[in-house]
Symmetry: C2
Subunit: 207 residues, 2 copies
């Protein structure tokens, strides 16, 4: 079992390696890569150990090889089509966010129940009625869903997503979702991020 | 120095303890608290060790004492007034998010440069012109700022925040900000969260 903290660092390694690839860097040592992310080289090697290490001890990593290897491990070696349910402020902000598609999660639909929103276009995607969601999920074999509805409606939306075939739910609503075995939920709490920042601000003020 | 992963778990401990407090639980063991968060009890004790441990070995934690202790460590024993710069989709979603205030970060202003947005109200807060931001930051001694502008404008906004007295920046724009010594930036990348989810979905599909 791979620890949560290791899973969290994989996208950060990938993001840095892609930057190196874009500027033509061919090799990178564990120390260089780790220092660019403000972590210890031993932590990086320990993380990579879960996936076979990627290079012989003492030899640098080949960027051309490491990028596709990490993409495969994360599961974005092929695009992962995604839907959003809830086309309010946050849903529209995510639909509008170009990086989501660039990072491997092309948006295949954004759904809502408010008739005044149906048909509105965000970067070329028209908001559709929630009733159309199951057909789209089945048609395009969609496995990932993002929930940006009010907390009171989130469980019901999760149930409909799971019924349609979704196995990974990215939940922004401040409520814990119950899902069956074989479905994963990730709660995105911006409050966790801002509290971590608050801790660091306090450290600065006290030093 | 407290590790990043430990800092990240503090808000999660606090969130769980507040739930226990709300249902009248007085004592909780490290095992119970850890299991409710799906982590090892030894990891929790190791985290608390950085802050003095909070209880004698083998004795449970007192919820009434632990909640204020963690609030103080995180820096939310008193409200931390915050501003948002960028009142587009994401900025409005954050201004609309009631939990931010409940978690200890009351919103003291949301700013933009688009004249069509100035004056629009979100949950009682009127969007103001960016030109008014420095006065508000100085008047209310605001230390935290959230950036939800396009990547191209983010550095310029960060500079103005720092000039006005902000020391903690929560950055949503997909770009790295340069800030002077004594200022902390936290980049919130939803893409990291969704990739971590993708990894787990892949594990499920392969098992
Ligand atoms: N995790 C975080 O840190 C964070 C930050 C901001 C907002 N939020 C949360 O994200 C959610 C969305 O916030 P917002 O500001 O966009 O709210 P909003 O009210 O602007 O949008 C919610 C949308 O959901 C739609 N909706 C309601 N019930 C639905 C259903 N059953 N099926 C489909 N659509 C439905 C509504 O019609 C509306 O368009 C809220 O739960 C909010 O608390 C979380
Ligand atoms: N981190 C993530 O995962 C994530 C997710 C969604 C969006 N985003 C990012 O968040 C940002 C906002 O996204 P959005 O969908 O709300 O965009 P948006 O275009 O709807 O809103 C941007 C707002 O910023 C304002 N603005 C531009 N320059 C400004 C300046 N110098 N000072 C003050 N205001 C200024 C604009 O007038 C506009 O209202 C973008 O950078 C986007 O890439 C990040």
């Amino acid at each position: 079992d791979v620890p949560e903290a290791t899973i969290h660092r994989l996208p950060l390694y990938l993001e840095k390696l892609k930057l190196l690839q874009a500027i033509g860097v061919e090799d990178v040592s564990s120390r260089q890569l780790a220092e660019s992310l403000d972590i210890k080289a031993s932590q990086l090697r320990h993380d990579f150990h879960y996936f076979g290490g990627f290079s012989r001890p003492g030899r640098p990593y080949q960027v051309e090889k490491l990028v596709p290897a990490l993409e495969q491990i994360i599961g974005i070696d092929e695009p992962v089509p995604t839907i959003i349910v809830g086309a309010g402020h946050l849903g529209q902000a995510l639909a509008n966010y170009q990086n989501l598609g660039l990072q491997g999660f092309p948006l295949h639909g954004i759904f809502d129940v408010n008739p005044r929103l149906i048909g509105l276009e965000i970067r070329g995607q028209a908001i559709r009625d929630l009733a159309d969601m199951p057909d789209i999920v089945k048609r395009d074999h969609i496995l990932m869903g993002i929930i940006t509805v009010p907390a009171a409606n989130a469980q019901q939306v999760a149930d409909r997503m799971v019924e349609a075939g979704i196995v990974g739910i990215f939940n922004f609503a401040p409520t814990d979702l119950k899902v069956p075995e074989g479905v994963v939920v990730r709660n995105e709490r911006m409050a966790v991020g801002i509290m971590a920042l608050s801790f660091k601000v306090k450290c600065i003020l006290e030093s």
